[in-house]
């Protein structure tokens, strides 16, 4: 860390003057995003205070939609499932993605193929993905056949149809899609680490575990905040895989806040309540990420 401190001090001095062209650098993206994201988002916030069927004029109901959540059992299930989802999906994809990146970081024969193989699910169309995983989970599908083959026939299951297992069964294809992409972020991060740091450590006789703890991990800090944000964003928005495989069923057992919001908006046509659910999702995500980032920024200074 000491290596980086000196330039940081100098940088702070350099940044005092802000050339006007830089304001343009910031302003243009902010305005574009503001117009296409924040302006519609404000409308969404307003809609969360109304009842709206998507066609007639919305009618203002104040905080009624938020009050309704308190007594909504499905909301409770969806919120709990979302927490489970963040922990499992988030935890496994972060740890697994880092593991894969470390494994496939060094250039050697075949590594490009392995990376591409792990990344392929990210590029595959969702329609095909969900189709194939449904086939895998079918009563006479690959999973059950494998279980029978290794003598665990009694474990056979209708994985997606059983409310006990549906959520976890959907989690696996979601991870299958996500891991390659977290790996790519970590690979980019690992490439940014100065090899000289490892050289120095080697001269000091540091073991690989020590190198990871004292060099790799601290150096990955900025990537970690990216990955954390990605994971929170994706786990709260995880929608497409779940929706295309179970639609949140059977009877809401794999319902996430995001699928519940979508069903409320586009099936039940209750766009007001759906907007309120969206606001809850937003507040959750924002809360987690800002807490982390503000701390990270502070440590930086």
């Amino acid at each position: 860390m000491a290596v980086l401190n000196a330039p940081a001090v100098r940088r702070r001095r350099a940044m005092r003057r802000v050339p006007p062209v830089l304001l343009l650098f910031v302003l243009v993206p902010v305005v574009v995003e503001g117009f296409w994201v924040f302006w519609p988002a404000l409308q969404g916030f307003y809609l969360s205070l109304t009842n709206w069927d998507g066609v007639s004029a919305p009618s203002f109901v104040g905080l009624g939609n938020y009050a309704e959540m308190l007594s909504d059992d499905i909301f409770g299930t969806a919120a709990l499932n979302t927490v489970i989802w963040i922990v499992l999906f988030g935890g496994i994809s972060a740890a697994g993605g880092l593991g894969l990146a470390l494994l496939l970081n060094r250039e050697r024969r075949g590594v490009g193929f392995y990376r591409a193989a792990l990344f392929t699910p990210v590029v595959f169309s969702l329609v095909a993905t969900s189709l194939i995983w449904q086939v895998i989970y079918q009563p006479d599908g690959v999973v059950n056949k494998l279980l029978a083959a290794v003598g665990l026939g009694s474990w056979q299951h209708s994985w997606l149809a059983d409310p006990q297992t549906a959520l976890y069964a959907v989690l696996i294809p979601a991870l299958w899609r996500q891991l390659g992409y977290v790996m790519v972020l970590y690979l980019a991060g690992l490439k940014g680490i100065d090899p000289a740091l490892y050289e120095a450590a080697k001269l000091d006789g540091a073991t690989s575990v020590q190198q990871f703890r004292h060099i790799t991990w601290p150096q990955l800090r900025s990537v970690n905040s990216v990955v954390l944000s990605v994971i929170i964003i994706d786990s709260l928005r995880s929608f497409d895989v779940v929706w295309s495989m179970t639609k949140g069923g059977p009877y809401h057992s794999s319902e996430l806040l995001s699928t519940y919001m979508y069903a409320t908006a586009f099936q039940s046509l209750r766009l007001g309540y759906a907007s309120a659910l969206a606001v809850v999702i937003f507040v959750l995500a924002f809360g987690v990420i800002v807490t982390y980032l503000v701390r990270a920024f502070r440590e930086d200074q």
């Binding site: 409308q43 709206w52 998507g54 099936q267 039940s268």
Partner: protein
Amino acid sequence: MTSAAGLSRRHFLRNTGLAGLGVLGSSSFLAACATSVSSGPVKQAAGAVTVQSNLSSPQAKVAIEALAKAFGDKGGAQATVNTVASETFRTQLPSYLTAANPPDSYTWYPGSLLSGYARKGLLLDVGDVWQTMGNYSQAFRTLSGDGAGHQVFVPTTYYWWGFFYRKSNFAKWGVQPPKSWSEFLTLCETLKGKGIAPIGLGAGGTTPWTASAWFDYLNIRINGAPFHRQLLAGQQRFDDPKVKRIFDPWRQALPYFDPNGTALAFQDATTVLLQGRTGMVLTGTFFADAAPKDALDDLDFFQFPILDPSVPTAEEGPTDGFFASARTPHVAEVKEWFKYVATAESQELYIKNSSGTVLPANPAAKDSGTPLVQKGRKMLADAKELTQFFNRDSSDALQPTADAALIRFIQKPNELDSILADWQTAAQKVWLS
């Protein structure tokens, strides 16, 4: 008439402005938006009628495109078909209809959603098209109305539901289609004894709605079609003892359901039926699209058994057709297109190009003539009442509440009381909003 239409149109414009902006801006901003909406770009002003279609399966798509081509070849107006995935179509329909420049005509079905849009002034009154349509049955006429005396829909085809099975399989197993509920249960017992899952379902994955066919049929057989319609319209309760009663015969049949019924999606359930691993499936004729061509002649069906002879026989006869946006700039062309699709000639053309298991709505039109279709047509003609299907008679919004309740019943029949109570709560939220 014209002034009323103009009024509703203006009213509607203001609504769109409000909706789109979420009523954030000042009134002048709203006014500005409303004007800019009404003077929005009219891209397809060139004269072709746009037909927004959800008929996305390859065969149906070919059929409707052939229809549009034949219409254009007549030399009058032209029609261009715009196919989007049916799921996309369903979610986007409110956006399409409230757009400044909506597509002209749409594939859809009659039911509560349609009359809801009609009440909001979004649909074109096609009463004068109906005047040219000859002797369409009163049932279709009623179905195509908005409930306030306007015709807003043109039916083109309909189909039927029943217990479908493979003739060769029934012959192999030495069984006959049943004529009563007790014969039905005996048949199930026989099949089960042979190691076959008697009743396939296909309510797994993303097609839980197939389970609603059982609910519909039991309800119209026991409580009758009028009660069924009232229930689905929110005038009766799902926790009513009359509703609870229909689950008794369902419980009798439940041991004969394919244990994988809630795990296999509809299309896979079809395969399993064709392979003879299940005996029969309560389904609509569209399932024939999932069968290989060489199996088509081997398919047959029987009517859902009568449970109470005193209840007038009703059948599910879902109808498909077209409606148009009230704001289409091509009123004359749209009506020309509608007159065309209502003709016997066009419906015969459509049936020839599609899988051929649907029935033409025009009484003068010939169906595909196969024994299966003849039998289905007769069953519907003999019925005293026709219902559409759960989501059509109620709404797409209510369908998920039915899915949750019915799948849970199939998996956990002992929880019936709490299932019905939860269903009523969920349904109430939909009706109140």
